[in-house]
């Protein structure tokens, strides 16, 4: 037995099973229900968008690695996750250059220029989305009505767009259909239940922090009720404080990208905080800002994405809220 040499190293001698690659595979698995729902509702145009965005991100990452002679980390599948996530928040009816330009913006501009994975300050997917929304605002509104009988895609407005002009949708919307995804919207963000299923999987696996989505929901609830009680056009509905008034919260949570942002965009590891208090406040901030921008903002596109972008700039501040340390005296003399 002594003839063979033994390996010596510091502890720990065991590592968990999770690697970057497996973590990204699990994130893709968690996005699969939302993606499948999107494909079911929006058919071939959605498929083209998803594939184009994913391919674009992978190809641009390859080009960046080759051109700039960067360390090759393509094996961790991060580019695939970026591309797929971007595809899920694009409108199904946009032209083909949207996902391709999006892949370039996400990988080239927002990820690689800052130094690759681990170094960028804001979610690359949202930078790409913001770039596309500002550059092609009309094309980014090409939302289809889901599941047409005759195969003809019809462009329609989302409920959030209607809410700006006509607060009556709060009472007239069929909320169960909205949460099930029978509404115009981005490819992967319409079916709220599918997104929640994927998000719960990620929380159970310890990949995302449960405090972020919780914060987003609480923030949305509080701010949407405040909006109901203070905004002149919403005040006309006279719903503030009533049980009916909760419908506006369900509408905010169910329509647009809020649920998707809460589980998949706000929790993006690199740009989100890590401390317990910090993550909760970060989530709350996103919830507040999302409703504020949706209700009173003039920017094109869904306010929740701007909210995530804005809050991730404050991540270093949230990371200063360190938790209490076990074994450290509360007061030092």
């Amino acid at each position: 037995m002594n003839a063979s040499l033994l390996t010596v190293s510091p502890s720990p001698h065991l590592l968990g099973s999770m690697t970057m690659r497996s973590m990204h595979v699990e994130i893709m698995l968690a996005m699969a229900p939302a993606a499948l729902a999107g494909l079911y509702f929006f058919g071939v145009p959605a498929l083209i968008n998803l594939v184009a965005a994913t391919l674009a991100a992978v190809v641009f990452e390859y080009l960046c690695v080759k051109l700039f002679k960067l360390p090759d980390r393509q094996g961790d599948l991060h580019a695939v996750v970026l591309g797929l996530t971007l595809g899920l928040i694009l409108p199904p009816g946009g032209p083909i250059y949207l996902p391709i330009m999006g892949g370039l913006l996400a990988v080239g501009l927002a990820k690689m220029i800052f130094g690759g994975i681990g170094a960028y300050p804001m979610n690359p997917v949202l930078i790409a989305w913001a770039g596309l929304t500002i550059s092609w605002p009309e094309q980014m509104k090409a939302f289809f009505l889901p599941c047409p009988g005759d195969g003809k895609w019809e462009i329609a407005e989302t409920f959030l767009m209607k809410l700006r002009n006509d607060p009556e949708v709060i009472t007239s919307t069929d909320l169960s259909a909205l949460w099930a995804g029978l509404t115009p919207g981005e490819i992967g963000t319409t079916c709220t239940w599918a997104i929640i299923a994927g998000g719960i999987y990620l929380i159970v696996r310890g990949i995302i922090n449960w405090r972020v989505p919780l914060g987003v929901f609480v923030g949305t609830l509080v701010m949407s009720q405040i909006a109901l009680a203070t905004d002149p056009s919403l005040m006309e509905m006279d719903l503030a404080g009533s049980l009916e008034g909760l419908r506006i919260t369900w509408l905010h949570l169910g329509d647009g990208g809020l649920m998707f942002a809460a589980f998949f965009l706000a929790t993006e590891p690199v740009s989100s905080p890590v401390t317990p208090k910090g993550t909760l406040l970060y989530g709350l901030g996103i919830g507040f800002l999302a409703v504020i921008i949706r209700t009173w903002g003039a920017a094109p596109g869904d306010g929740v994405y701007y909210a995530v972008l804005l809050m991730s700039t404050a991540t270093p501040m949230f990371d200063r809220l360190r938790p209490a340390v076990l074994g450290k005296a509360q007061r030092e003399w």
Binding site: M1, N2, S4, L5, L6, T7, V8, S9, P10, S11, P12, H13, L14, L15, G16, M18, T19, M20, S22, M23, R73, G116, I117, G118, A119, G206, I207, N209, W210, P269, V270, S271, S272, P273, V274, T275, P276, T279, D319, R322, P323, A324, V325, L326, G327, K328, A329
Partner: protein, 439 residues
Amino acid sequence: MKISKCFRGVRREAPSVSPPTELPPPEKALLPLRDGAGQALEPAAKPGQRVLRGEVVGVVQGSGEPVLLAPLSGTVEGIGSTCDPAGQPVPALILGSDGQDALATAGLPVPLAPGDLAQLKPAELLARAEALGMGLTPTCGPKKYTTHNGVEMVRGIKFLIIKAVDADPPVNPNQACLAGDPAALELGVAALAHLAGAEQVLLALPKDGAFPQIEETARGHRWEIRPVDPGHYPYALDHLLAHDLTGRMVATPDGDPRDMGVLTVGLANAWVLGRALASGRPADSRVVAVAGDVQKPQAFLARVGTPLQNLIAAAGGLVGEPGKVLVGGPMVGAAQYDLEAPVTAATPGIFVQAKAKLSAYREHPCINCGRCVQVCPVGLLPGDLSRLCEYGQPEVAAERDLFHCIECGCCAYVCPARRPLVQLLRLGKSELLAKRMAQ
């Protein structure tokens, strides 16, 4: 239980419980000339001298306290060298067995009947345990404090926690003792409670096992049973367990649960003490679990001084090509290079890893995912601290509580980027300490 605790620490498989098997004494025993606290010992027997089991062969340098007893009968072959678990060389007394295992006739106390326990004073009990070679004073004896005006005082012990769970599963000496002889267990725990003067005895038992005999005994003595998850690493470490069961927070890094009136003792040690007191034979065996890639993972009752390779051979030998042999468990164990190294009083067990199962770290940037923060049992930000230590700023890390890290290794275990987090934290600590010493 708080929700955040569900995400803290890591889940390890809790191994099955089987009683420890007694190993025959080795042919040659190596006895490191250093006690548990790191004090140097000097041999009390000359090379060539014949000694009996239980005779004093080593005393503390200076004070001359007899602390090292011969674990077998035979001849002192001389003074050689071995390595401690951390790999540092230590002088060691080499004792060759004569195969008779003859017991010393003088110097050992008489067997103790359970009923006589109350008649002994705690100090007498402590002296009796010392005479049996069970060095309890540094870990379980009264801890002295000096007040600011120079008066020595001793803090009373309110809780005695007997751990039947293990700090680093699957190396499970404590859990294996649950299946051991109940009379010795009872005497051992009662003796510890008596010598510590504990007001309350808490038995931390694995939560989903049934131990009718122990529960019966506990009812008789009014000991409290507290179920603990045996696979939730690192919550069986002394001060984390003390915090969970009593709510008393032990200061890190240099605190001791006794500072807060809590004494934690492993069930394996209680059992060894109980056996020795009841039989009047020296307490020169320890419960040592062998786990990992061996044919038959199990716990043994091995004499102190037994070479590690005897344990591996008794467990049926290695499976696959040898990779690492660890003293302790897979999370905090120390890798060995010399299998001649002996079992000491502090060896909980060994963990064997085949070459194919060794894990590797990588140079990957931190992605700030926060999994290390979610699992850290003391509430640090290991990712942040590791970056500070890596880039030569341990002072900043120390301001962010670097020294409260207990080095449990959960952060490195869960890191998806496979960064050597706890290793970087250790590096930062040692660099800063070296810097402070130089100033």
